[in-house]
Amino acid sequence: MDDSKIIDLYFMRDEQAITLTAKKYGQKLNSISFGILGDRMMAEECENDTYLKAWNAIPPAEPRAHFFAFLAKITRRLSISRIRDGSRQKRSAVLVELSSELELCLPCEGTVEQTVDQKLLMQSISVFIKKLPSEQRIIFVRRYWYLESIDQIAKKLGIGESKVKSILSGGRKKLKEHLEKEGFAV
């Protein structure tokens, strides 16, 4: 069914909307959550929580153009929260590893001004990623948004791990330069 029709059902408060959402995107959302949490049961819980959050958010939210991205964002947020709750110590190490990769190219020292400018920083990162070549862009998003391991990315995209590593390294270098140009202290 078309995303727009599913959104209409949300607006009409028809519970069929959740069934149809699960049918269309359930597997993908579960896969995102499992990639972050590494636990089948928790991933399922996060998937179900996503439907509830979506039910509560629509309306007023009306994500007709990018319904999947809207749901995926909720799933990602919920999954990361689960890790931060402390229930998944091993997975927490994965998040720290990912962040340590980014430390060299993102502003880390938290000043009040920078905290205020966080929104701007996020927008700037988004703009930077959009400008990257297709291959680099996809790998960057898979690594830092979907939080996939280098091994997983290499397998999914059919390329070598070393290539993935070098693309990510090059991307981080470019990101640092981009943010410095934009006036962020890296």
């Binding site: 962040s99 993102l106 880390c108 862009r137």
Partner: protein, 243 residues
């Protein structure tokens, strides 16, 4: 910001980017395309080369492999115990030397099966010579053979005439004709009851035949014997001059 909070900076990434990355599977970079194409081409070439080789080897080693006692010995040495006649080969305990079982209760071969037709004898028959042979059994049949090919047939008795009515032997080579006749006779049940059977191939002009021609007749008779034996029948064929 500290620790894993840096990842939050990516949280509000543009929706298009998220969806694009979700849909991306195998990247179609030209270099990988080239490598894949090369690999597929190599595999296809290998398959194309190996196929005729397999056919050649199978033609050489499988089709012409004779059924010999050596094969039986090999089976025995591989752990398959060789049985003696009368120790469970068949209910009536009969068997032939080439390993086939015969008898009413035998498992194989079917008595109606048509024996494989051997090619013409290696020695050609003289061009102009016509040989008349009579296959004497319950159905008695005469064959006229010219240049190694049956040119005329005649039933010598009622059974022979009835047998020929269902067969088209003219134009067949001499051994083919003998095989066809023998198979037809088996189907009619002429040889079912007899284990050892003597057929006479009678040549009316035997005295006029050269040594080579006699040899050819003998060859045909031996071919028929071998084919009959491979079908579980012991047949002895004697080529004799007409009385």
């Amino acid at each position: 910001m500290r620790g894993d909070e840096l990842l939050d900076l990516f949280e509000d990434l543009d929706e298009e980017l998220i969806e694009e990355a979700a849909e991306a599977t195998i990247l179609q970079a030209p270099v990988y395309k080239k490598r894949r194409t090369l690999l597929i081409a190599c595999v296809c070439a290998l398959l194309a080369l190996s196929f005729p080789m397999v056919l050649l080897f199978s033609a050489l080693f499988l089709e012409d492999a004779p059924v010999t006692n050596a094969g039986k010995d090999e089976e025995a040495s591989n752990g398959i115990e060789e049985s003696e006649p009368g120790e469970g080969w068949s209910e009536d305990g009969q068997h032939s030397d080439n390993g086939y079982i015969s008898g009413e209760n035998s498992f194989y071969p079917p008595e109606e099966s048509v024996a494989p037709v051997d090619p013409m004898p290696s020695v050609p028959l003289p061009d102009e010579q016509t040989i008349t042979l009579t296959l004497q059994a319950l159905s008695s049949v005469s064959l006229q053979i010219k240049e190694g090919v049956v040119c005329a047939v005649q039933g010598e008795n009622e059974n022979g005439k009835a047998l020929l009515a269902d067969l088209e032997l003219e134009g067949l080579s001499y051994p083919q004709a003998l095989n066809t006749l023998f198979s037809a006779m088996m189907k009619k049940g002429e040889f079912v009851s007899s284990r050892l059977l003597t057929l006479s191939l009678v040549s009316e002009n035997m005295d006029e035949l050269t040594k080579v021609e006699k040899e050819i007749l003998e060859q045909g008779a031996r071919t028929l014997e071998q084919n009959a034996e491979s079908n579980g029948n012991v047949v002895k064929i004697v080529v004799t001059p007409a009385v």
